[in-house]
Subunit: 193 residues, 2 copies
């Protein structure tokens, strides 16, 4: 296998193993094995599991549809709905069994002082910041409840989403995600009765 | 050390290690070491790390103030507020750095087919069921928004709480918990604008 494609294979294998089994439970040997590569080849491509974890987090973060939130031509409420629909479709691909990689990693590596810990925190912070953009536009249009702080609302929505993804994974069904769309999303934004 | 107190020491050490470092990253040797016990003594008391994980989950679940939700003499809204205040105080004890043990474990062991996976799922299900009790009483008193399904509302509150605990752990501050109390809790229950 060419060097470049071996590196990509290792990265893809790591993303899948980390998502399925978690960060701590996944060793370099399992990643190399899944990629069909000799274990020794791992360190030709990545200095450490920690460094590879950072790449996996960055790659995952690029698939979360953050650009939907940033589109100035969209209606802000549509953008929020489309963004969370995108995240739901991603979870549904794995029958809700794997949860959000960022949330899973956060549960494992937060405060560990590793590079992957920093990458997870940064990705979550960027995402919460992006969520605030359409929420602020809603506020500017007078479509948030009076007195609501758009940044607070955006952060509350984001953390409720992470909880729903986690509970869906834990309980093995989509109900927590359905509850998010039926209750948390509309009520947090002041849309429903 | 007497057999009984050695067992308790191992259980306490496991609870602390699991909460601080996660389930996968904690080995039997680290648990024994923290308890000041020889590694070999572990298997005199517990058949496996999985079995010990179940005991830790059950012990943790008993500290979550579920009884506050079940008190028929309380005002249901007070009960909900007191329950989440109790959970907040518990997170604050560790400066929000450790998150909820059940949520952390769920992120790691869900769908692993282990006993600890089942114990986590059962504990979360019991908790969500207990949350529904005061929410149904609110509905019976006409204090939920018209058309709101109390079970859906209770589950949405519970999963939003888990997300807030996770994000607090990930970002290293209490803001997600503050957001829960400022936004998600009142709005999900239809209390505030």
């Amino acid at each position: 296998m060419a060097q470049r494609s071996l590196r990509d294979a290792l990265l893809g294998a790591a993303a899948a193993e980390f998502h399925e089994k978690g960060y701590s439970a996944t060793g370099v040997a399992a990643i190399a094995g899944r990629a069909g590569a000799p274990k020794g080849s791992f360190y030709n491509h990545f200095p450490s599991k920690d460094a590879l974890g950072v790449l996996v987090v960055e790659q995952y973060a690029r698939t979360r549809g953050t650009e939907i939130l940033l589109d100035p031509g969209s209606e802000p409420l549509d953008a929020l709905q489309k963004h969370f629909d995108h995240l739901r479709a991603d979870l549904a691909q794995h029958d809700y069994a794997l949860g959000c990689l960022l949330g899973n990693f956060a549960a494992e590596v937060a405060r560990s002082g590793t590079q992957v810990d920093t990458a997870v925190r940064d990705s979550l912070t960027v995402w919460l910041g992006a969520l605030a953009i359409p929420v602020r536009r809603l506020a500017d249009q007078g479509e948030l409840p009076a007195g609501a702080d758009p940044d607070e609302v955006a952060r509350a929505l984001g953390s409720a989403w992470e909880g729903a993804a986690l509970l869906a994974k834990a309980t093995g069904n989509a109900q927590p995600i359905d509850d998010f769309f039926a209750v948390t999303f509309p009520r947090t934004l002041g849309l429903a009765r």
